[in-house]
């Protein structure tokens, strides 16, 4: 196996911007950090509403098989996604959830889980649609997925013209929440 390979799965429902998150992350890693990255997505009727998921692989080496076998980072943004992917996650994976959209099972108590009310924070910024960028900022703070500099560049060059500032603000909001969350999770574990 490629020891540098980072396997990331993001899952939620159609309209949450799951694939856009994956796109920005892949672009940050490949174009702005000069690594290799692949993005593949669930495709078909499900991308018109129901469940939505994407796999992002990042490596300094050439990426062969483009699917996530064992996620290093798993992001779930809906109850369905939690039930489908969250419950089967490997113990050592960085697990990130949308706090107010997911009811965790009882056996999750005491486990290391990074959670953020990303939808509410986005609403407070004025547009629910930037929830994905809040989530991305949070991801960037609590994991090694990509540097926040690269992600910010990727956001600026990917979102619709005129919405750059809002999206970057959303990213920043998530990032700052993430820095506090790391502390909180550490204290909880200790």
């Amino acid at each position: 196996m490629d020891s540098n390979l980072l396997q990331i799965r993001i899952s939620g429902f159609g309209g949450q911007g799951v694939v856009m998150m994956g796109y920005v992350l892949g672009k940050a890693a490949s174009v702005f950090e000069s690594k290799n990255a692949t993005l593949s997505q669930s495709y078909g009727p499900e991308s018109r509403g129901g469940a939505s998921a994407c796999d992002i692989l990042i490596s300094t080496e050439e990426i062969d098989y483009p699917k996530v076998v064992k996620p290093d980072i798993l992001v779930v943004l809906s109850q369905d996604a939690y039930n489908t992917y969250g419950r089967k996650r490997p113990d050592d994976c960085i697990f990130i959830i949308e706090k107010e959209l997911i009811e965790l099972a009882d056996d999750e108590i005491g486990k290391k889980i990074f959670s953020i009310p990303a939808t509410r924070l986005a609403e407070e910024l004025g547009r629910k649609i930037v929830m994905n960028m809040v989530m991305l900022g949070f991801m960037s703070a609590v994991s090694n997925c990509a540097s926040s500099e690269a992600l910010q560049k990727a956001i600026s060059t990917s979102v619709p013209k005129g919405t750059e500032q809002l999206n970057l603000k959303a990213f920043e909001t998530g990032f700052e929440f993430g820095l506090k969350e790391i502390q909180a999770v550490q204290e909880k574990i200790e």
């Binding site: 490949s30 098989y65 483009p66």
Partner: protein
């Protein structure tokens, strides 16, 4: 949005289907006719968005038959032209491909393969058109088919497809698949001056001396364009060098032989493949497209387990690299051939490897890609001497 030029020099994180479109634009393609069909639709979408920016024409036709004939007409009028399709759309285009072959029309077809037969699994991957592209139109002929394994190659091989089609005046097919077409990856687009473009050979004789298919001893005639000072005659019946119909077997023999020879005799200039670890390999995984990506993971896993396994990736599926595969067959225990169909390119491996070694097909009906473990298991089959040789398959019948 600001107008962009035809070559988007720089590094992009780009969908495979979009990369095919960008390769076409960088090659000088300025005419696209198509009928959207999953999973090729993004090629059409991108062309619809981009062609007007570079002064080209995008036409959404009433169906695939019309799309395929429209790109021939555009080529005859002097344009570099392309269409993209999938599944049933490719079947519908077959007759027009024969017309392109007989009239020696340079054009490019992107086939983003999905799982068939029929409408099958419209949104899911397949590699089941590999023989259809070779034999699907009626009559004896040769075509060129390239298979990208990444978004970067979607860009690079679309350019190569245009170059080959212009040089050999033949339809050239980019046989990608749903998985690669829908994979987003880094694509580096060089500056225009770093992209090699082969242009169509134009007539050098004055118009009154020109004959549509006069080859002057070459295998490929120069091409004059409809609407120019040259009189042209594009005829789907068997024709002489003027382009006039000749209903005779000897004229047919002469014409078809040249159409076949221009590809077969130039195959060494056309064929491209990738080899990895084949120097010391005892077993070689031979594959293409997305299945080659999965195979590379399996080869890596096998090497980690101490097995001497190499990789042979078809970049040109047609013409098939007979000589090299035959050569390798003399030195290896066997080939493992994963493909997302029930066994198509493996038949070429059987043909050229003869009884020299074992050949283990790893079939998949489509709808998903292989898992690397499926291929690893087949590698062990060959390693343990349990895979069949061609003769064994005949005996089993």
């Amino acid at each position: 949005m600001a107008k962009r030029g035809p070559v988007l020099t720089g590094e992009h994180f780009l969908l495979g289907d979009f990369a095919c479109a960008e390769g076409a634009l960088a090659s000088g393609c300025r005419f696209f006719a198509g009928y959207p069909i999953t999973p090729s639709t993004e090629v059409a979408e991108r062309m619809a968005e981009r062609l007007p920016e570079v002064g080209g024409i995008y036409i959404q036709m009433e169906d695939e038959i019309a799309s395929a004939t429209a790109i021939l007409g555009a080529a005859w009028a002097g344009a570099k032209s392309m269409t993209a399709t999938s599944g049933p759309g490719f079947s519908l285009m077959m007759e027009a491909f024969g017309l392109a072959i007989l009239t020696e029309t340079p054009t490019v077809i992107i086939n983003v393969q999905r799982a068939g037969p029929s409408t099958g699994l419209p949104t899911m991957v397949g590699q089941g058109d590999m023989m259809q592209v070779r034999w699907g139109s009626h009559g004896p002929y040769e075509i060129i088919a390239l298979v990208p394994e990444s978004a970067q190659e979607c860009f690079d091989l679309t350019i190569k497809a245009f170059n080959l089609s212009e040089r050999y005046r033949v339809p050239v097919f980019v046989m990608t698949d749903e998985e690669i077409g829908h994979l987003t990856e880094k694509v580096v687009i060089p500056p225009p001056e770093k992209i090699e473009i082969w242009e169509r050979k134009l007539p050098t004789v004055p118009p009154e001396k020109f004959k549509t298919y006069q080859t002057n001893g070459d295998l490929v005639p120069p091409m004059a364009h409809a609407g120019s000072d040259y009189r042209v005659f594009f005829e789907s019946l068997t024709h002489d060098e003027r382009g006039y119909p000749v209903m005779k077997a000897d004229a047919h023999q002469k014409l078809v032989k040249r159409l076949v020879d221009k590809i077969v005799l130039n195959r060494h200039k056309i064929i491209e493949y990738e080899e990895k670890y084949t120097n010391d390999a005892e077993i070689i995984v031979l594959s293409y497209g997305i299945s080659a990506r999965v195979s590379k993971r399996a080869v890596r896993m096998a090497r980690e387990r101490g097995l001497k396994v190499g990789m042979f990736r078809l970049i040109t599926a047609w013409p098939f690299p007979d000589e090299r595969v035959h050569e390798l067959s003399k030195f290896v225990k066997g080939f493992v051939v994963p493909e997302i169909n029930m066994g198509q390119m493996v038949k070429e491996v059987q043909r050229v490897a003869t009884d020299n070694c074992q050949i283990q097909l790893v079939p998949h009906a489509g709808g998903d890609i292989h898992e690397p473990e499926d291929i690893l298991e087949a590698i062990y089959q060959v390693h343990d001497g349990k895979a069949p040789r061609r003769g064994d398959l005949l005996l089993a019948m």
